[in-house]
Symmetry: C2
Subunit: 343 residues, 2 copies
C-alpha cells in the first residue's frame, strides 16, 4: 500500500509509492526508450490498457473498443491505490496517511501523433471537457481533497510514452503549493476584497510587457517571477475559482488559446519538452478557509513550464529557481511568433 | 543586473539572471558535452578562471599559480552580481531586489578525477574547512542574508564540468525552504523546549529502521518522508545550528562519514548523479526569530539527493514528490554495502 508521508520539518507531503517498490537495480540508467511499435494508447489496442473508466465515443460504439475520441484508463503503475481508507496515523514525530486516491491516464486522441498543435479546436475541447468531468467524478468521493491534472510532454519532461496523454492524480490531502497559493490569495482578499489573480491580470493588461496573447475569455502571459525560461500562465479573464465549473463555450476558447500557445512555443523553442498543470480551488476547507470563501479569492489557471534548464542543488536547497531569460524577453519572442497576438 | 523577484502568490523568491540573457536559440538541446581536454579547474590552468578569492595552498606558493589544495574562484557566469545595493523595489503587486550577492566555485582538488570517494579524509576535510571559511567571509557583508552551499555531481544533476567542484551562492534574502524549516523548528521549540532535529535523531536511533551509518559526531539516515529514492541526510549528533561554527576535529569526522556515504551510494546505485546541499541557520532575523533564538532551534545538516527519477508536472504542480523506494528499503541496501555501518 502506498503512503502519504508528512515531512515534519517542511510540513509538506510526499508519496512513498512502495507498491512500485523499486530496488537499486531498477534505476540503472538506460538511454530514453524509443516508442515500441505496439502503442497501447492507439485506437485498436484498447485491450492492452486497464479497463476504461470513461470515454467520449461515437454513439453505438462499445467500451474498450475503437470508436472513442478521448479515453480515460487507470494508470497501470498507479502512485495511489483505489482501495483503503485515508486515515491519519502517527508515531512519535511522524505522520502518514495510507496512499488512497486515483491515478488516471487521459488519452487525448486515438492518433499516435495527435499532439496539441495537431488537434482541431473541437478535438482539444473534448480533452478539456473530459478533464472537467473526471475532476467532478473524483469530487464525489469525500475522501479525496484535491485533483491535480498534469501533462508531461517529451522524455526530458518525464513522459514515458509519446502518444499524447494527460494525467490525473486525486489526493487525500491538499498539496502544499495549492495551500500556499490559497492562503496568500485569502489574505489579499481579506485586505482588499479583490481577487489577487484578477488584479494581476489587470496589472499585466496595463503594462503589456509580459502578455503573449488574449482572446474573448482567456489571457496568456509570462509571470513576473517566472521560475523557468518561457514559463507561461493561462487564466480566465473573468473570475472563476474552479476549472471544473467552466462551461463548454469557455472550454472552446481555452482550447483555442492553448493550441496557439503550444504551437508558438514549438516554433520559437524548436519543440521543447514541457510540463503543463492545472491549479483549481480545493473543494474542501483548507486551514480556516471554507470552499465558499475560496471561491471568492482563488482563480483557476494553467501553468506551462518548458524544460530548458535543470532543477539542481541550488533549487532543491532553497526552493528558488535561477531563470536566465527574463519573462519580458520571453513574452516578446513569443508575441512576435504568435499569429493571434493582438499586443 | 540580475534581479530577485518575489512570486506574489507563493511568496517565494526566484532569480532572474538577466545578464546571462539567454535567447531561444541558446537553449537548443545538445547532447551532454564531453569534457574538453583543457580543463580550467586542473592544476596548471589557473589563468583560465577568474582570479582566485581564496585558496588553501603550499607555503610559499603564489596566488593563481600551482601549489593549491582547494581553490575558490568567482563563477564565470554568476547568477548574482557583486556590485550594487540590495534595496527592495515595488511596482503595484510586484516586489524585486537587485540581484546582489556572491556566486563562487570551490574547486575541491587539483586532480581532475578527485571525486569524493577518491579523496583522503584529510583532503576532503580541506574542502569542508574551505566551505566554512567562505561562509564566514560572506557573512561579513551585512547585505547578504544566507549562504547556500551545493554540489551537482554528474550532468543529469546539473553539473556542467566533470572536475570536482562545489558552489556557493550568497543571497540578499533568506530562501523560502530555510524560512519554512526554521519556522517549524521554532514553533516546536516554543512548545517543547527541544530541538526538532535532535528529537528526530533520537527517534531514528530508537527505531534503527532508516539509519545508514554513524560515527562519533555524525549520523546518516534516509529521512522518513524522503522526496527521492535513496535521499540521505547527515546531521551532527550534538546540537549545532550553524555549519560554519563546526570545528576542525568535527569536520574531520564529517569528511569520514561523507566519504563513506558517497562511496556506498556509488557502489549500490552504480555511480548515480546526485545533488548535495548544506542547510545552516541564517545569520539574520527571519520573521520574528532572532538569530540567537534560531541557534537553539535550528540544527545544520547535509542533504544528498540522488537523481534517479524526474521532477515533472505533478511535482511542479503540487510541491509533492512521488518516491518509488521507501527510505527503510533504501537504508537497508545502503547499510548492507557500507563497511562502516554499525547498525
Amino acid at each position: 500500500m502506498p503512503e502519504l508521508r508528512k515531512n515534519h520539518i517542511t510540513t509538506g507531503w510526499n508519496i512513498i509509492a512502495s507498491e512500485r517498490g523499486k530496488r537499486p537495480n531498477d534505476y540503472r540508467r538506460q538511454p530514453d526508450k524509443k516508442e515500441e511499435s505496439d502503442c497501447p494508447f492507439c485506437e485498436g489496442h484498447e485491450q492492452e490498457t486497464p479497463l476504461e473508466v470513461f470515454a467520449l465515443r461515437a454513439e453505438g460504439s462499445q467500451p474498450n473498443k475503437p470508436g472513442w475520441r478521448v479515453r480515460v484508463v487507470p494508470n497501470k503503475f498507479p502512485a495511489l491505490s483505489l482501495e483503503g481508507k485515508a486515515v491519519l496515523k502517527q508515531e512519535g514525530l511522524f505522520n502518514w496517511i495510507p496512499g488512497v486516491g486515483r491515478h488516471e491516464v487521459v488519452v487525448d486522441t486515438p492518433r499516435h501523433d495527435g499532439f496539441i498543435n495537431k488537434l482541431s479546436d473541437e478535438e482539444l475541447k473534448d480533452v478539456l471537457v473530459t478533464l472537467k468531468l473526471r475532476i467532478l467524478d473524483a469530487q464525489k468521493d469525500p475522501g479525496l481533497k484535491y485533483v491535480q491534472i498534469f501533462k508531461n510532454y517529451g522524455p526530458e519532461a518525464g513522459a514515458s510514452r509519446i502518444h499524447p496523454h494527460t494525467q490525473l492524480i486525486a489526493l487525500p490531502v491538499v498539496p502544499q503549493t495549492i495551500r500556499d497559493e490559497l492562503l496568500t490569495a485569502y489574505e489579499y482578499f481579506q485586505e482588499t476584497e479583490h481577487c489577487l489573480f484578477c488584479d494581476t491580470i489587470q496589472q499585466e493588461k496595463e503594462k503589456k510587457l509580459r502578455i503573449v496573447s488574449e482572446n474573448d475569455a482567456f489571457i496568456c502571459f509570462a509571470p513576473f517571477s517566472s521560475r523557468v525560461p518561457f514559463e507561461l500562465h493561462i487564466l480566465p479573464v473573468s473570475h472563476y475559482a474552479n476549472y471544473e465549473h467552466t462551461d463548454e463555450e469557455e472550454l472552446f476558447s481555452l482550447a483555442q488559446i492553448l493550441k496557439s500557445t503550444i504551437t508558438t512555443l514549438k516554433k520559437v523553442l524548436k519543440d521543447p519538452p514541457y510540463n503543463l498543470l492545472i491549479h483549481t480551488a480545493p473543494h474542501c476547507a483548507v486551514a480556516k478557509i471554507d470552499p465558499k470563501v475560496a471561491c471568492n479569492c482563488y482563480h483557476w489557471h494553467i501553468e506551462i513550464l518548458p524544460v530548458l534548464t535543470r532543477i539542481a542543488g541550488f533549487e532543491l536547497g532553497t526552493g528558488m529557481f535561477i531563470n536566465p531569460t527574463p519573462p519580458e524577453i520571453a513574452a516578446k519572442y513569443l508575441r512576435e511568433s504568435n499569429e493571434n497576438s493582438t499586443i
